[in-house]
């Protein structure tokens, strides 16, 4: 079979075998849950509860008036014990609602039992009976964000600019980051929920076609989905070459549809909507049950973890609890990362909570990108070969260090998506993407100055 792919990219050792064969275990949250009021791209929420209030599981506890934002909900029932600043896995600190768990899991009255029969006919009838605006409203109320890592509020994607007609919904099951298998397990364990969610998303934007894209390193999921797709004429399965960053939005679009999103544009500009695969099952629960996004699959892995596995985790549980649930560490870790090893965020403490975008938490004993002096660029062009955005990372990194705004714009620095492929491949171990991040902020600052 010929796999679909894009130009560039790298082939790191994916280490998925650590966790991809084990079914997901349900994690029971302990005493206290910490729900950050900022879990997504966009405006942070304002708290809707006060200290001492009793909250139900699934009750909305934070909301913002801004359009690009998603409300947050309590993932347990219990009493609000504090609202204060706490370390955030995205870096820095954020306002968080602390909830003392009463272990009752009393559901919010608005949440209905799951009434949909999971077979193709009843799913289709159900989706047909719904109204697009209603789906978007429920998605917004349930605080659903993309679950692939960036956590972009889904209802914003479901409301594309009026001049863009979405014809195809692309469901991203690439999971190209090494170590992570949370989406893979979701595909194997709740496929019908995913299919229903994909239909709901398509219905919300009136798209005719759905493509579910899966990397070739998940043959069991591909087989299952191809079999199931026979009952859904509008859904096709795209098999992708295993390569990083295959799951990046623009690269996925290019691989599957051959369309290119214009520089600085959105997928909607080329008639597409891309969303993560497990987000679909969250959409189904939100629309059918009014169940907000308070639970997700998290891969706990890395060479420091004793028994790496996938856990079904409530939002707000601390990383430390999850490591404990995996029998702790073999050896004291030197680095803890939220997300994958290529784009994940290093943590300064394990007391940070799981948020909606936490696809995995990894603990490493031997950090490979620390303390090494970088060499001079030898112009080998390897970063140029692998750059999925077809930029010249070596030149960008040098201009970034010199802070040459004009040159940086000339080389399209703002198109860099910081996937890190250049830094991974560099034989001189240069911190290319790190320099470019700095360069991007220099360009942004100079633009702001220019506007004033």
């Amino acid at each position: 079979m010929k796999f679909k792919t894009f130009k560039g990219g790298i082939h790191p050792n994916d280490k998925k075998e650590l966790t991809n064969k084990v079914p997901v275990t349900k994690h029971i949250p302990l005493d206290e849950i910490i729900i950050p009021l900022r879990q997504h791209i966009g405006a942070p929420c304002d708290p809707l509860v006060n200290v001492g209030d009793y909250v139900y599981m699934g009750q909305k506890i934070g909301e913002s008036q801004s359009f690009v934002s998603a409300p947050v909900h309590s993932s347990v029932s219990g009493t609000v014990s504090a609202i204060k600043s706490h370390p955030h896995p995205g870096g820095g600190e954020a306002m968080c609602v602390f909830i003392k768990n009463d272990y009752e899991d009393k559901l919010d009255p608005s949440i209905k039992p799951f009434s949909l029969e999971l077979n193709p006919k009843s799913i289709k009838d159900y989706v047909d009976s719904l109204d697009s605006a209603d789906i978007v409203h429920k998605v917004k109320e349930s605080g659903i964000t993309g679950m692939g890592g960036a956590a972009f509020p889904l209802h914003v994607k479901l409301s594309p600019p009026s001049d863009c007609k979405i014809d195809t919904v692309l469901i991203n099951g690439a999971e190209c980051e090494p170590y992570l298998t949370s989406d893979h397990r979701a595909m194997l364990e709740r496929p019908q929920l995913i299919f229903a969610g994909a239909l709901l998303v398509a219905k919300a934007v009136n798209a005719e076609k759905i493509i579910i894209a899966i990397e070739s390193n998940k043959p069991d999921a591909i087989e299952l989905f191809e079999e199931m797709a026979k009952d859904y004429p509008e859904i096709t399965i795209g098999v992708l070459k295993t390569k990083y960053p295959q799951g990046s939005e623009k690269q996925l679009i290019q691989a599957v549809t051959k369309r290119q999103v214009p520089s600085g544009g959105l997928p909607a500009n080329v008639g597409l909507l891309v969303t993560n695969i497990d987000t679909c099952s969250a959409v189904t629960r939100a629309v059918v049950m009014n169940m907000p996004l308070i639970e997700r699959n998290v891969t706990v892995s890395g060479d420091a973890v004793k028994s790496p596995k996938n856990l079904l985790v409530r939002v707000g549980v601390t990383f430390q609890q999850l490591f404990d649930a995996c029998d702790g560490f073999i050896e004291e870790p030197k680095k803890i990362v939220m997300g994958g090893p290529m784009m994940g965020i290093a943590q300064s403490t394990t007391e940070v909570p799981v948020i909606k975008g936490t696809s995995g938490i990894l603990a490493f004993t031997k950090p490979e990108t620390y303390g090494k002096e970088e060499g001079t660029c030898i112009k080998c062009g390897k970063c140029v070969d692998v750059c999925p955005m077809r930029l010249m990372p070596n030149a960008l990194s040098i201009f970034s260090r010199m802070e040459k705004v004009e040159k940086l714009n000339d080389y399209h620095v703002m198109d860099c998506m910081e996937c890190g492929s250049c830094t991974y491949i560099c034989p001189q171990r240069r911190f290319i993407v790190q320099h470019i991040k700095h360069g991007k902020s220099v360009v942004k600052n100079s633009q702001q100055k220019g506007n004033k």
């Binding site: 001079t376 112009k379 080998c380």
Partner: protein, 322 residues
């Protein structure tokens, strides 16, 4: 509890293929040619290689010690330079010339411009050009191979050690067997004679993904095409002189070749044209080293004209037209 966690920007994993590993692979790829040189020219060629390598490494080390730079000889790039320099010298060259050549390559060409990555021409080739201009007699005194000398001992024929290209330049005739040229049983610089050994090294480099096929293949193909177009024997042009060694090991030098694929195609194509033009119309029989040196100098310009590429460009320009 964990007291000190390292916090750094992503990515948190990296390839193990560092410069040192890549250079080690280049050295391994050069070993077949080294063996061939010992087979065809005797053990003296090994001494020449050891001299130039030692000279390059020592001068780099000394420079970095004196100027208190980081010591980077462990990246093995000086070893590669040394081997390539020896490969570009005749076996009869005195060893002191190897030392001088190594000093020139490392100090003048490489370290004066800032070390690995900042040299604008290939150090080994620049040193060869320097030696050729300074001691032209020593650098063009060709010795016949061990086998040719043995065969001639019985007969009364005068043994000439002329290279195939030299003979072509003087007489306009091709008087060599293609099989000898392929295996390396001809006169020339010690590393360039055996096409077979170089091809083995090339395949190793491709398998190890140290280089891509583009530059060597396009270079050799364009030499063939231009030679045929100018009424010369294309196959002879490929098998003779330093073309194969230059195409595989020197035109592909990371530092002095363009960075993008498009740039590399332009670069290799121009190399082929220049080589044929120098060989056919120049005063010297051989043109590979000068073509590569010239194209090294043009490389920044090629990088500059091929820089403008980014994802989503095609779409935008189309929109702009509408």
């Amino acid at each position: 509890m964990m007291e000190k966690l390292i916090v750094s920007y992503a990515p948190h994993i990296r390839t193990h293929r560092t410069t040192q590993r890549l250079m080690l692979d280049v050295i391994i790829a050069l070993i077949p040619s080294l063996i061939a040189s010992i087979v065809f020219f005797g053990i003296k060629s090994l001494f020449l290689v050891l001299t130039t390598v030692a000279s390059c490494v020592l001068f780099e080390f000394a420079w970095q010690k004196i100027f208190k730079n980081d010591i980077t000889v462990c990246d093995l790039s000086a070893v590669v330079t040394g081997i390539l320099l020896a490969f570009n010298m005749p076996v009869s060259a005195p060893l002191w010339m190897g030392v001088v050549g190594g000093a020139f390559a490392i100090i003048i060409v490489k370290m004066c411009f800032g070390g690995l990555g900042n040299n604008f021409v290939n150090p080994a080739l620049a040193a060869r050009a320097f030696l050729l201009l300074s001691w032209p007699v020593n650098m063009t005194k060709w010795t016949p191979t061990v086998f040719v000398s043995k065969a001639a001992q019985g007969g009364a024929d005068v043994i000439t050690g002329a290279t195939p290209l030299g003979v072509l330049k003087e007489t306009g005739k091709i008087s060599f067997d293609y099989m000898d040229m392929f295996l390396g049983n001809i006169s020339g610089c010690i590393g360039e004679v055996s096409t077979l050994a170089i091809v083995i090294g090339f395949i190793y480099l491709l398998v190890k993904k140290v280089i891509t096929w583009h530059v060597p293949v396009i270079y050799v193909a364009s030499v063939f095409i231009f030679a045929e177009l100018m009424g010369e024997n294309g196959l002879f042009y490929i098998l003779s002189g330093g073309l194969m060694l230059g195409a595989v090991f020197m035109a592909t030098d990371y530092v002095t070749s363009p960075m993008s694929l498009k740039g590399n195609i332009i670069y290799a194509f121009c190399l082929g044209l220049l080589t044929v033009v120098i060989r056919k119309f120049g005063a010297l029989p051989e043109g590979v080293s000068y073509s590569i040196l010239l194209m090294n100098i043009v490389t920044p310009l090629i990088d500059n004209v091929t820089k403008n590429r980014y994802y989503g460009k095609a779409k935008k320009s189309k929109e702009a037209k509408q």
